[in-house]
C-alpha cells in the first residue's frame, strides 16, 4: 500500500521543512528582537521605522514576500546569497522571506511581553543608573521572554506551516512533494494522510513541549 512512497524522498522533503523552520526561527527571533527594541527605544526615527515595518509586513501575504525575494532580489537585483545553484539560492531566499515575515509577529509578541513586565522593574533598573540598552537587555527582556513563550510557540508553529509557501518558488519541501505525488499517483487520500501526519508530528509536540516549558519558566507574580 505504501510502495509508491519509495519513489519519493519523503523524509528529505520533511527535512527541508524542518531546516526552513529552524533557520527562519533563529533569524526571526534575532530580527524580531531588534525590531522590538527599536519600537520601544528612545530614538523616534527608529520607532517609526519599527512601526512601519511591522504594519506593512504583517499586512502583506507571505506568498507575495516569498515570490518577491526570488523575482525582485534574485532575478532583478542580482542577490544570490553566496550560491550559484538555484536549488540552494531558492532555499536561502525562502529563509530570508520567512524571517522577514515572521520577525514582525515576533516583534509584536515581544512588545506585548515587555508591557507585562511591572513598571517598577524598569524604574528600579533606571534608579541604579542603567542605560536604555542595559535596562532592556539585563532587566526587561529576560522577563519579557519568559512571559511570551506561549505566544512565541504559536508563532513558531505558524512558521512551520508557513514554510509550505516556499513551494511557490520551487523549494523542494513537503507541500511541493505532495503536489508532485498527487499529479503522478492515484492514492489521493493516502498521500494527503501521510503529509498531514508529517505536519501533525512536527507541530503537536512543539506545542506540547514548549507549552510545558512556558509554564515552567513563567515569572510567578
Amino acid at each position: 500500500m505504501f510502495d509508491f512512497l519509495d519513489h519519493y524522498d519523503l523524509l528529505g522533503a520533511f527535512w527541508t521543512t524542518v531546516q526552513l523552520t529552524v533557520l527562519s526561527a533563529i533569524g526571526s527571533l534575532i530580527w524580531g528582537t531588534v525590531l522590538a527594541a527599536m519600537r520601544v527605544g528612545p530614538v523616534p526615527v527608529m520607532r517609526g521605522f519599527g512601526a512601519a515595518y511591522v504594519n506593512i509586513v504583517r499586512n502583506t501575504p507571505l506568498t507575495v514576500i516569498i515570490l518577491f525575494t526570488s523575482l525582485g532580489l534574485n532575478q532583478t537585483l542580482g542577490i544570490s546569497l553566496g550560491a550559484t545553484n538555484f536549488d540552494i539560492i531558492n532555499f536561502r531566499l525562502a529563509i530570508l522571506g520567512l524571517t522577514a515575515y515572521t520577525a514582525a509577529f515576533v516583534c509584536e509578541a515581544l512588545r506585548a511581553g515587555i508591557n507585562t513586565v511591572p513598571v517598577g522593574q524598569a524604574e528600579a533598573a533606571r534608579a541604579l543608573g542603567l542605560s536604555f540598552p542595559q535596562v532592556l537587555s539585563l532587566v526587561v527582556l529576560p522577563q519579557a521572554f519568559r512571559s511570551v513563550v506561549g505566544p512565541l510557540t504559536n508563532v513558531l508553529i505558524a512558521l512551520t506551516k508557513n514554510t509550505t509557501v516556499a513551494a511557490a518558488i520551487g523549494v523542494a519541501e513537503a507541500a511541493l512533494l505532495m503536489k508532485k505525488m498527487i499529479e503522478n499517483e492515484a492514492q489521493l487520500l493516502l498521500i494527503s494522510a501521510v503529509i498531514a501526519f508529517g505536519f501533525v508530528c512536527l507541530t503537536l509536540p512543539t506545542g506540547l513541549i514548549l507549552g510545558w516549558v512556558g509554564k515552567k519558566v513563567a515569572v510567578k507574580r
Partner: protein
C-alpha cells in the same frame, strides 16, 4: 446602543465583501445567457503570439486558428466563449465537456491520445531556447549544461532538460514564463526553454524587440493538435476546416502575423494526421 452601532459596522464590512461577490456572479450570467448558440473553446490566456488575454480581447495564433475553425463549424466570432485551459487541466476539461475543443499549445502524444482525440496537427514546433540577442554561446543542447536555465514548474520542457537534454544545467522553475523573462533580461538567467512557437511569441512582443532571439536548437518535435472529446464527430469537421485554412493561405498569414516578428522560421503546415515523432 453603542454596541449595536459597532456590530452594524462589522456587518457592513462583511456585506460589502459579499455584495462584491454577488456582482461578479451576475456579470457572468448575463454574458452566458444573451448570446444564444455558443461554442466554448479552450485557449491559453498568458502566451503572447499564441493565446493571450489583452484589454482589446483575445489574440494569438491559437486564437486565430480556433476562430477560423469555429467559423467553418458555423459560429461567428461573437458566438465564441473563450475559456482558459491551463496545461494540467486540458484532458479533464474535454472529458467533462467544459469546452467543445481546445487549441492551447496542445502537443499530441500517446499518453494524451488515450484520454482525448486530436484533430490536426496544425503546427510543428520544437523545444528550443530563448537567449539574449548578444549571446552566441549556445550552439547545441550540450552547451546548456553550464548554463542557468528557466522553465515552467512541472512542464515537459523542464523534465526533458532534467532527464536527457542537459542534466547538469542549473534549472530555475517558476509558475509562469513571464517570471523567467525578468531574469533573462537581467542576466540572472541565461536561457528560457520551451517550444519555439511560445518563445517566438514572447520575442515578438513590442517591449522585447531586438532584445531576445531563438537558439534554433530543435531539440524535440511538438505536434500541436486541436483536442476534442474522445469519439467526438468534431474531429473530422475540424480536420476539414484546418485543411481549408492551409489551402486558402489564412494559415500562413496567421503564422506571419503572430509569430513572424521574432524571425521565427516556421515549419511548413503539417499534413493532417501526419505526426512527426
Amino acid at each position: 446602543m453603542k454596541l449595536r452601532k459597532v456590530t452594524a459596522a462589522t456587518a457592513v464590512v462583511l456585506a460589502l465583501a459579499v455584495s462584491a461577490t454577488a456582482c461578479g456572479k451576475d456579470d457572468k450570467k448575463d454574458g452566458g445567457s444573451s448570446g444564444g448558440k455558443k461554442i466554448k473553446i479552450g485557449i491559453k490566456f498568458d502566451q503572447p503570439g499564441l493565446g493571450q488575454k489583452t484589454p482589446q480581447g483575445y489574440t494569438g495564433f491559437d486564437v486565430d486558428v480556433a476562430t477560423y475553425v469555429a467559423k467553418e463549424l458555423g459560429y461567428n466570432a461573437d458566438q465564441i466563449e473563450w475559456k482558459e485551459s491551463k496545461s494540467m487541466d486540458r484532458e479533464t476539461m474535454l472529458q467533462r465537456g467544459d469546452v467543445d475543443f481546445i487549441a492551447a499549445t496542445y502537443s499530441i502524444n500517446d499518453e494524451r491520445e488515450k484520454k482525448v482525440d486530436f484533430a490536426g496537427p496544425y503546427l510543428l514546433a520544437h523545444q528550443d531556447v530563448l537567449v539574449r540577442a548578444d549571446d552566441n554561446s549556445i550552439k547545441s543542447p550540450e552547451d546548456l549544461n553550464s548554463k542557468k536555465l528557466c522553465s515552467v514548474t512541472g512542464s515537459t520542457s523542464a523534465q526533458n532538460v532534467h532527464d536527457k537534454l542537459a542534466p547538469k544545467a542549473n534549472l530555475q522553475e517558476y509558475p509562469t514564463y513571464s517570471a523567467c523573462l525578468t531574469g533573462l533580461q537581467n542576466k540572472a538567467i541565461d536561457a528560457l526553454t520551451t517550444d519555439d512557437s511560445i518563445l517566438a511569441g514572447y520575442a515578438s512582443q513590442a517591449a522585447f524587440k531586438g532584445k531576445f532571439k531563438l537558439g534554433g536548437l530543435k531539440m524535440t518535435n511538438e505536434n500541436y493538435g486541436i483536442g476534442v472529446k474522445k469519439g467526438s464527430d468534431l474531429k473530422a469537421k475540424i480536420n476539414t476546416a484546418l485543411e481549408k485554412m492551409v489551402a486558402d493561405k489564412s494559415w500562413q498569414q496567421a503564422v506571419d502575423k503572430n509569430l513572424g516578428p521574432a524571425n521565427y522560421k516556421n515549419e511548413p503546415a503539417p499534413k493532417i494526421g501526419n505526426i512527426v515523432k
